[in-house]
Symmetry: C2
Subunit: 194 residues, 2 copies
Amino acid sequence: MVRYGKEHKQATRQRIIEAAGRRLKSDGIDGSGVAVLMKDAGLTNGAFYAHFESKDDLVAQAVAHELSMQREHLGELPPGRAGLEHLVRQYLSVEHRDHPEDGCPSAALLDEISRGTDATKQAYTEGVLAFIDEFAVRLAPDDPQSALAKVLSVYAGMIGTLQFSRALSDRRLADEVLEQGIRNALALFEADVR
Amino acid sequence: MVRYGKEHKQATRQRIIEAAGRRLKSDGIDGSGVAVLMKDAGLTNGAFYAHFESKDDLVAQAVAHELSMQREHLGELPPGRAGLEHLVRQYLSVEHRDHPEDGCPSAALLDEISRGTDATKQAYTEGVLAFIDEFAVRLAPDDPQSALAKVLSVYAGMIGTLQFSRALSDRRLADEVLEQGIRNALALFEADVR
DNA sequence: TGTACATCAGTGAACGCGCGTTCACTGATGTAC
DNA sequence: TGTACATCAGTGAACGCGCGTTCACTGATGTAC
């Protein structure tokens, strides 16, 4: 009686969410229409509402998924201080700046998220906290809780640095901002601020 | 023969730009329609194209104007280190977070600007550099040039911190991010990173 | 084994709406005489 | 001093277009017999 198996529709839904993640990061939330999002997933616009309640619904799902991907990336890092430095250098790299579609959803979408629906903001908050928690555990396995506030704020700073570098039309200056940003982030992690 | 005097149209244009600055910061670039922007200035949509080439044109002008306002604000600060701390505390305040329409255009619009037209990005780059230059002169009157890179990157970090605080749906956490952000920014200014 | 059928993921045209932009017109203005 | 006029900032209706969303339909599927 069930012809496709429940995993088929689930897989399609997942495909839409993943494709949407890239498109949203590259063109923005308002800049990405439902028809384009569906075409990216190899479908037509009509099928959209069999999978999601609304565009806002998809946006919230995509934000959540993007953040869980960010979190999984943490697992690939070497442990301890070396991993930290690697992450900072990767985050504030020219590569990351020039390819928002492959990168951090915070840097690509943060001010659109603040103006978004409550559901999107909540998905963002939960996702980013899970990411930050994981980060804190990796940075300070002995006392992750006390590292949390610092990790949160340094991450916020890195988001701004990447965005800022993306917005500058002077490339040399944009590169310099990234380099100084790396030094700042590492210095903040080293220092016992407060 | 000239009935209104050239200052009349100029004043109207300025009024549109100023009203647009607030609206754009509050609703975003894509979120602010021409009709609304004109209504904010007490006009109807039809008059728009007597003042600007396009919506993109106005956006670039408004971004430039917003940044020059930011720059003028610097003049009101007490000189030296006290002024610096005042600025940081004001920038990363709950007040600023909760009223984007009165605040910094970078924090409100940065990732829409990165996706914007070249004219907008260039207006942003020029405006922000003028602001940062002024800031560096005030911070290190003896050697502003060497302070520039640091000021740039710390400013970028503060932008991210404010945006991040705006996007979090957990208010206590959002407040904590601001507080830690103030400590980070001040520590970075104190320290001789590099 | 072959065929009729119920299911439902996906199609694609259509909906009303608001967007950025255009344009024929209005009406308040200061000037000319 | 009063009136006819040229100017032009601003009006508001209309344009085509793409948006998010809806819906009648299609057609591939595995099942029942």
